[in-house]
């Protein structure tokens, strides 16, 4: 269980017509075991923010801390799931799932056993030896999530994990992720542009403005857990949704 804190992070890119500001003084926090979503229109620098947290990009100002230790520019501290599944086509499901262990030169055989034991939970029973190209989009996304879980980091970054899926599969996976997360006690930071998805899964939601990305609103959700998909029709859910949509409408 870990806390991740983004402290006044700014990022600007030099361009021929002067600096382009992607992020401006963004501060946010995800506490131990919390599910936090970052929502915003396209071009709000969500991916830049995640790249900075994952250590792939350097912020122009500000810093990232995990459990009060500065980890700005350090890679491999958080488990990261990119927007598209990014499965290696020549590795089967199990080999993809244990990729982080391979890279970190850990005990790959033990990781494979662990992955095999988790296949059922991830709805991949009997597909351990299958190549990614033979799987459906929803299954590939679950393999990517399994790979993220087996990365063995207390903090997970999910970059629009279900963005590329059709609505039905997405609803199915959201519900499944709810159940999975309640058992895993990870701290999760998720980027999404789907208001329903953010409300259904999160404890807190941050709304970012379009370029440059700034925190326009922080909304703590007082919705009961464990949640099921039915919650999206509840009065409280709809109130939060109206609030979020209004905030998004104002900044656009």
């Amino acid at each position: 269980m870990s806390v991740i804190e983004v402290d006044a992070v700014s990022k600007s890119y030099p361009t021929p017509d002067g600096a382009l500001d992607a992020l401006e003084q963004v501060s946010l926090i995800a506490r131990s075991g919390e599910f936090v979503s970052v929502i915003g229109p396209s071009g709000c620098g969500k991916s830049t923010l995640f790249n900075i947290i994952a250590g792939l990009e350097e912020p122009s100002a500000g810093c990232v801390r995990i459990d009060d230790v500065e980890v700005t520019d350090r890679r491999g501290r958080v488990a990261y799931m990119p927007q598209r599944d990014a499965l290696l086509p020549w590795r089967n499901v199990l080999d993809n799932a244990v990729l982080a262990t391979v890279v970190q030169r850990g005990d790959v055989r033990a990781a494979r056993r662990e992955a095999e034991a988790l296949l059922g939970d991830f709805g991949l029973e009997g597909f351990g030896e299958a190549l990614p190209a033979t799987l459906s989009g929803g299954m590939r996304q679950r393999v990517a999530l399994l790979r993220t879980v087996l990365w063995r980091r207390p903090i997970m970054l999910l970059d629009e994990p279900f963005g590329a899926l059709d609505a039905l599969t997405r609803a199915q996976l959201q519900q499944w992720l709810l159940g999975l997360w309640s058992r895993l006690d990870h701290t999760i930071l998720m980027v999404t542009h789907d208001v329903d998805e953010a409300l259904l899964l999160s404890d807190r939601v941050y709304v970012l403005t379009p370029r440059p990305g700034r925190v326009a609103l922080e909304l703590a959700l007082d919705l009961p857990r464990p949640r099921t998909y039915n919650i999206i029709a509840s009065a409280a859910f709809l109130r939060y949704k109206t609030h979020l949509l209004r905030a998004l409408g104002q900044i656009m």
């Binding site: 792939l56 990119p82 990014a86 990729l99 190549l131 190209a133």
Partner: protein, 276 residues
Amino acid sequence: MIRKERLIRQYAVWHDASATWGGTLLRLARIVAPPLLLVAGLVLGWELLVGWLAIPGWLLPAPSRIVAAFVDSLPVLTGHVAATLRVTAIGFGLALVAGFGLAFLIDISPLLRRALYPLLVASQTVPIVAVAPLLVVGFGFGMLPKVLVVALVTFFPIVVNTVDGLQSADRDMTQLLRAMNAGYGQILRLLRIPAALPMIFTGVKIAITYSIIGAVLAEWIGASSGLGVYIARSLRAFRTDQVFVAAFVTSLLTIMLFASTSVLERWLVYWKGNHS
């Protein structure tokens, strides 16, 4: 494990096919018959034309004469073919080593890329018929000049395709591996080399079609054995039929090398192609 599963699947495919042998044969016939009939017709026309117009053998031998020449020179041919294959194998092996080596150098350093690329392109613009005799003069009638000619005509597509293939790795996958804190070598091994394999094979297949021709050309200029020597001797003796034999054998060898590369490709790039 994967390999085993694929073998089983492959077996299942064969098994299915054997259930409908007649159907498979018919389908095969439909694919093979048209080109076969066309070639047969052309050969027949050639044979008849040579007979009717009484074209002399040194100008254009009839197919029957070429076949006879092939059978006659079979004992000599095997030795020449073996010599040519040896030169080709060593030269092509050298091209693979040099090609991959150069490709990785270019990949590691943008400076080397800028320095090497123009030289590599220039090396391909030099006419090989001018370079080959110089190599023979420089290195004698042994193996070396011929091996160098083969390497020179084949390494270029290998370098270019390997460089481009290494650049073709998916951006998201690269980012993911970087986020896992993978180093250059790990990204190369886990992602970029496998991702480059299809393009590398394209380069190797292009290169291998030049390899035998390169060897024959080098032998033609100066050697004691090989298909090139056989061609040179046949030309001097006005044995045009034997030149045709050499031409057919050369193209047959090239086709065989190309086909073996394709088989190797299908085996190594197992994740591409049909997934049943």
